[in-house]
């Protein structure tokens, strides 16, 4: 039997390359389709804002007082290897939680088209930066590099750090596709959970045995930082070439697990869709019944369940490892509540999807429907942030009355802020989305960036206010300051309810989310 390569083998490779080239071209087509659904001006503004902030974050810190000096700047330089590794971890968590990254165009809209998994992979890579956590970390990294090295040496380091951000995102994508593929195998979900548990136990044991700093010091990113901080040189060129090499290889290799994953059934989603749920007794009130159905829509959705775990456990463990004191815990509820709202709350009326028309034909006061929806969002956010705070307080010691009061007041204030904002935006800009897939988002990518920026800004400012109050030894002060915040959020929530009660407004929302 001849074993030499036949002409068919050659044509198969040619066919494969042609397919992959088409896949790359299709990214452009899908991007064009996606961009056409957003006003061109909005796209341009979004891109301009990104460029301006990125350039500012890269340049301005280098010219600040003490930049490149021996004090704070030097400490930042020492932390750079950990910061590069931290970005990798963040990109990984984001990509894994979203089942391989976000979809350029939702799956249900492309079901009739032959979309190559390579296109899907490249699309997910392109959308990865449209995430406030990614953007903030990227700007923080660039700003840190810039400040650490000062006006004479910042440019090569910032270029290197930016390329690292891209490479880390591409590497995260490979791992995320592989994890998603593993999750889709028999017993894969258990395997992924085991892997996660092993990772957590390892991190915890390193922290407990005080060996975490040794591990951080031994990270290979140290070699990269050494190569990037000495100005433009051969060493710098070699380091940059290596980072670019990692990026290119990761982008190309990422297509392999993407293809393998695409051939497997999403077991977790199928399990939810084919699962049986026993009948429960009739609830005692209309609102209780509405809450039950809304709760099912939230807790039976894969992206919500997965998102809740990542959102609540991640920051909780970081706080635990970092041994955050009580006066810094005020930052956590806002962070988690904002993330929770971004899972579904910002487009809350899309939960029933095409069932919205039937739901709207039922004889019930619209205000009861609104109350039930607000309650379900609130309880989701309470659960998520309670897990985080529960983990964080384990090593935070005994709080003073002022610290406890500040944390509890922040919690109440940011929860109301987020619920009120989510329901206002849900009413103003509804979208028809299918939240079945772990990769689905409740709104288009640019809108999500806008929402996350607004939520991050408002909750961070609130948290900082209460963090300051926790240092003042007078616990009623936090309660007094919280009162106007709560009143304002309640007022805005009531205004959102009035909007929902208005029949033409409600009809617009219902018709939109029903598709």
């Amino acid at each position: 039997m001849p074993t030499a390569a036949s002409s068919t083998d050659g044509s198969r490779i040619g066919h494969l390359l042609r397919e992959e080239w088409w896949a790359v071209q299709d990214v452009g087509h899908l991007l064009h389709l996606r961009a056409s659904t957003v006003r061109r001006r909005r796209n341009a503004i979004g891109l301009a804002v990104f460029v301006v902030i990125t350039v500012a974050a890269s340049v301005v810190p280098a010219y600040l007082p003490h930049a490149g000096g021996k004090g704070y700047a030097f400490n930042l330089l020492l932390l750079m290897p950990s910061a590069l590794a931290g970005f990798q971890l963040l990109a990984l968590a984001s990509a894994v939680a979203s089942g391989g990254g976000r979809e350029l165009v939702p799956r249900d809209q492309l079901v009739a088209y032959p979309v190559n998994p390579t296109t899907d992979h490249l699309g997910a890579l392109l959308l990865a930066p449209l995430n406030i956590a990614w953007l903030l970390q990227c700007w923080l990294l660039l700003g840190s590099a810039s400040f650490a090295l000062g006006p004479h040496f910042f440019l090569p380091a910032v270029i290197g750090a930016f390329l690292w951000v891209l490479a880390a995102t591409a590497v995260a994508q490979i791992i995320a596709w592989s994890m998603e593929g593993l999750r889709r195998l028999r017993h894969g979900i258990t395997a992924v959970r085991l892997l996660g548990a092993v990772g957590l136990v390892t991190a915890a044991s390193l922290q407990i045995t005080h060996r975490l700093s040794d591990v951080l010091d031994a990270l290979p990113t140290q070699w990269l930082v050494t190569g990037l901080i000495g100005g433009f040189s051969w060493r710098w060129l070699l380091t940059v070439a290596l980072i670019v090499g990692i990026f290119v290889v990761a982008v190309v290799l990422g297509a392999v697990p993407a293809h393998l994953t695409a051939r497997l059934q999403p077991r977790e989603e199928l399990r939810v869709e084919s699962g049986r749920y026993r009948a429960r007794p009739m609830p005692s009130s209309d609102v209780a019944m509405l809450v039950r159905v809304d709760r099912a829509s939230v807790w039976r959705a894969v992206p919500m369940r997965r998102g809740l775990v990542v959102l609540s456990v991640g920051p909780g463990l970081v706080s635990l490892a970092g041994n955050l004191p009580w006066n810094q815990l005020t930052i956590l509820p806002g962070l988690v509540a904002s993330g929770g709202a971004l899972l579904f709350g910002v487009n809350a009326w899309s939960l029933e999807g095409r069932g919205a028309l039937w739901r709207e034909s039922l004889p019930v006061q619209p205000s009861a429907v609104f109350t039930a929806r607000a309650w379900v969002i609130l309880e989701f956010l309470v659960v998520a942030s309670a897990i985080t705070l529960g983990l964080a307080v384990l090593r935070a010691g005994t709080p003073s009355a002022a610290e406890l009061s500040a944390v509890l007041c922040t919690w109440a204030v940011v929860l109301l802020q987020v619920v009120s904002a989510a329901l206002r935006w849900s009413l103003r800009s509804p979208y028809a989305v299918d939240l079945r897939s772990a990769r689905a988002t409740p709104a288009p990518p640019l809108a999500m960036v806008g929402y996350s920026t607004k939520l991050a800004a408002s909750t961070t400012v609130t948290s900082l206010v209460f963090s300051g109050l926790s240092r003042v030894e007078a616990w009623p002060l936090s309660v007094l300051v919280a009162a106007p915040f709560v009143a304002w959020s309640l007022l805005r929530l009531l205004r959102a309810r009035d909007g929902w009660v208005d029949a033409p407004t409600r009809a617009r929302v219902v018709m939109t989310v029903a598709g």
């Binding site: 699962g275 049986r276 749920y277 026993r278 509405l290 029933e352 069932g355 709207e360 029903a514 598709g515």
Partner: protein
Amino acid sequence: MSEQVPWPVVDVRGLHVRFGEVEAVNGVDLAAYAGHSTALLGRNGAGKSTTMRVIAGVVPPTQGTVSVVGHDVRTEPLEVKRAVGYCPDVGGLVPRATPWEHLQLSARLRRMGPGWEERARDLLERFELGDVAHRVTSGFSHGMGRRLSVVLAAFHEPHVLLLDEPFDGVDPIGVEATLDVVHDARARGACVLVSTHLRELAIEACSSVLVLRGGARVATVTAHDMAGEEGARAYRGLLD
């Protein structure tokens, strides 16, 4: 079922519905009576579904009056919704809720008595959905979803049964069960409105036919006049 009313159960006069620049319904008049079934026929975009949504109390009219069992949809939407059973044209199901949870929600909000469970089980069996009563609907086929939507519309034995594209993608058993539901509703004195593209099934299910074109009514004829080759030609003539 309460006593039959002597006036049109559904009375639509000069209905206009606008969505921004688009005039979805442009002056529809319609009168439908108890114990009768009326088909709404017309091409895509003729305004059938929007008219049904207005009658169901889901979309408020921009102009004109719509009364259902004597209640104005604009001022008494809850009374209208109590009187109506609505099967929407798209989906109509909450994706992550089970059929039983849909029925329980409807029974609760419609204040149905203790017999609702028996009625629910009976309907699910008739539409061959008994085996999937406790599975979430996102895993349902299109036809199963349509059948469940009809079940939900007919569940509380409404005064007005609104079925929008109930036969779309439904297998023959489902079609038969839907025709039975329409027949039963008529027999107990309910007013039935069926919107469909399928002329033959419209004729089988209904006694009169209302043809819409460009958001306005162009004709009201008996189902008999729409039957056969002659009826098909007449219908085509009304659409052009």
